[in-house]
């Protein structure tokens, strides 16, 4: 399988007046392959967003390397950005622009061929069922409509890698379901998707492989079945609690398994 995202020993430190230097991400490594959804699961403040921001070249790591679609974020940030679409935790839409305008503008900003832009925008509007509100200012849209517009905006330039930071956070079940369907659909088109969430259920449902992160450390990675095997637990919630509490023993168990 083609390696689309390779992260090695990633560390990010922040300065905090009360706590001094804090490691938001601590020596994190993982690989994501073409056509898979890799879930980053962790509680709030675990380091998920910081990791994604470093992948999106918004932040520079203090240590470690990130390679996306064969480009190093430190050496070739512009090509990295061209190869990916980033969906932030909030809908992040210009409130006084309509979905059609936003999608068009992002196609232009990402260098999508001008002659094909209109066609591409209309295709996405139709695909995501945005037609009814395509010309309404986004400040007047519901959270669900905004998030769907955001996804369309993220993929408008057809990037091979997608970084989605809590894409269904704050949405009702029906809209969340719709978004999950869209994400799976994108995966079926061959995209590599990094999907962060603190919702165990959706990670279990959508992701091919899962990385559990807590206090900036990646506790373990694997498919749902592999995690079940390592922890001896069935549900994702139990697996997560077990991993957080028994981190050291799991690490040891993993080392032993790999030695065998």
């Amino acid at each position: 399988m083609e390696e689309k995202i390779v992260i090695k020993n990633l560390t990010k430190e922040f300065y905090d007046e009360q706590r001094g230097t804090v490691k938001a991400v601590n020596n994190l490594s993982f690989t994501a392959y073409a056509g898979e959804i890799f879930g980053l699961l962790g509680p709030n403040g675990a380091g998920k967003t910081t990791t994604l921001r470093m992948m999106a070249t918004l932040m520079k790591p203090n240590e470690g390397t990130i390679s996306i679609n064969g480009f190093d974020t430190a050496q070739n940030a512009q090509n990295v950005r061209k190869s990916m679409g980033f969906l932030s935790a909030s809908t992040a839409l210009y409130p006084r622009l309509s979905p059609r305008e936003i999608i068009t503008y992002f196609a232009n900003l990402n260098g999508y061929p001008e002659e094909n832009t209109k066609e591409r925008v209309e295709e996405l509007i139709k695909h995501f069922d945005i037609t009814k509100y395509a010309d309404t200012l986004s400040e007047k849209l519901s959270t669900g409509m905004k998030q769907i517009t955001s996804i369309a905006r993220t993929i408008v330039h057809d990037p091979p890698v997608l970084i989605l930071d809590e894409p269904s956070s704050g949405l009702d079940v029906i809209v969340a379901q719709k978004i999950h369907e869209h994400i799976v659909d994108l995966k079926n088109q061959g995209k590599t998707i990094i999907f962060s969430s603190h919702n165990m259920g959706e990670v279990e449902k959508v992701c091919d492989r899962i990385g559990v992160i807590n206090n900036g450390k990646l506790l373990t990675t694997g498919t749902l079945n592999e995690l079940r095997e390592i922890t001896g637990k069935y549900y994702m919630e139990e697996i997560f609690i077990y991993l957080v509490q028994e981190y050291e023993s799991v690490k040891q168990k993993k080392i032993e398994t790999s030695n065998d």
Partner: protein, 416 residues
């Protein structure tokens, strides 16, 4: 091809920002409504200012050209000579100039008739005129007494004292003087208001809405995004300035017209070419563009430290006040163009526009002002751009490495 693509993406970004700003009802209302509320207050203030008589110093002298056209009243010179610091020259050449007062004394009905030419916008001349008026009145009364004694007429019949006062400048020139004080001041204030609102919306507002974050993940460089914000802020400020400037000029002229109709019974036909000619428009626009770009740089940098619009407004307030104060200086008549003035940002451009409007083309001062403004802009770019590009500033966390260093040094100093 690469350059065309770069310009195209930059344009797209500027268009997004401008569209976002212009569609914002609240910011647009602020930019347009606030100055509209300010106009009446400012007009009142300036009228009051012009009416204030400045204090005279002991050694202040003023020239009085005395043109006595009736031998009968030659003794008036001795009467006027008692006024302290009046330098009297007898003349008959009718050479009216702004440097002094010209008094013509003629005879009407065996009594003195005075015609005075002075610069009514010169507060010192106005103050001397007050003293002169007293002496002229006393002299008239003296002559009137003699006339009453010499005739059998009733005292009431002669109870008239008349001074025909002429303003040397003429209406247009006085008007241009007033506008030359108000226009630089108001155009700068409205530009500051526009830039402030634009800067807060495009930096703190976009950080609050997280749109900066998503724009940063496109293939555009950070520098390009910051530059697009600067240019959009600059354009928005200039649009606000031009709109307000035009509106204000019309409002003021309308008020003056109404006043003239009320008190003088005639309408005021202002020669618009005094202000709206290519030379004035071009130089004013160019100088205001340089100044507004410099202001945009400072405001975008200051508001960039904020994560919310509210914080952004607080952060730009000191700069807003400072620039406004600088532009107020131009309405002080004693402030003359100099090398020092040309070095002071904002004030130099305000002074330049003021001079332009009264057709006083001091080219050396203009060149110095533009040059120093460009130097300021360059220095500010050097100083502020690295800050603005820092990831923690651009993403809304002001704990930058430089601030950390400053804090660290301060903590060490405190320990010592």
């Amino acid at each position: 091809m690469l350059l065309i693509t770069k310009i195209y993406t930059m344009n797209t970004l500027i268009r997004i920002y401008l569209k976002d700003l212009l569609r914002n009802k609240y910011t647009t209302m602020m930019v347009i409504l606030v100055p509209i509320l300010l106009y009446p207050m400012l007009y009142w203030g300036i009228t009051q200012f012009l009416m204030v008589k400045s204090g005279l110093t002991d050694n202040q002298e003023i020239n009085l050209s005395l043109d006595i056209r009736s031998e009968k009243f030659s003794s008036i010179k001795d009467s006027i000579a008692t006024i302290h610091n009046f330098s009297i020259t007898e003349t008959s050449n009718e050479n009216f100039n702004k440097d002094g007062i010209y008094l013509i004394v003629t005879e009407v009905d065996s009594l003195p008739y005075y015609t005075v030419h002075l610069d009514s916008t010169n507060s010192i001349q106005k103050q001397f005129f007050g003293k002169l008026e007293g002496k002229l009145s006393d002299y008239y009364d003296l002559q009137l007494g003699g006339r009453i004694d010499a005739s059998a007429y009733d005292n009431e019949y002669f109870d008239t004292f008349w001074i025909d006062k002429h303003n040397i400048d003429g209406e247009y020139e006085t008007m241009t003087k007033i506008l030359s004080m108000i226009i630089p001041l108001m155009s700068i204030i409205t530009i500051i208001a526009g830039i402030g609102t634009g800067a807060v919306e495009l930096t703190a507002g976009h950080t609050e809405d997280k749109t900066t974050e998503t724009t940063l993940t496109t293939s555009l460089s950070r520098k390009k995004i910051i530059m697009a914000k600067l240019i959009a802020t600059n354009i928005y400020g200039l649009i606000a300035g031009i709109l307000n400037f035009t509106f204000l000029t019309f409002v003021i002229l309308q008020i003056i017209n109404t006043l003239m109709m009320q008190f003088a019974g005639k309408s005021f036909d202002f020669d618009w070419s005094l202000i709206f000619n290519i030379k004035v428009i071009l130089i004013t626009f160019l100088s205001l563009s340089i100044m507004s770009h410099m202001m945009s740089l400072i405001f975008v940098a200051a508001a960039g430290f904020a994560t919310k619009r509210k914080e952004g407004n607080i952060l730009i307030t000191p700069f807003f006040m400072a620039f406004m104060m600088m532009s107020y200086v131009v309405i002080i008549p004693a402030i003359e163009p100099s090398l020092v003035i040309s070095m002071v940002p904002v004030l130099n451009i305000a002074m330049m526009i003021k001079l332009l409007l009264v057709n006083d083309l001091q080219l050396v001062f203009f060149a110095e002002s533009v040059l120093f403004s460009i130097v300021w802009m360059f220095l500010l770019y050097k100083l502020l751009l690295p800050f603005m590009l820092e990831e923690e500033i651009i993403l809304g966390n002001s704990n930058t490495s430089l601030i950390k260093q400053i804090k660290g040094r301060f903590a060490k100093w405190k320990k010592k």
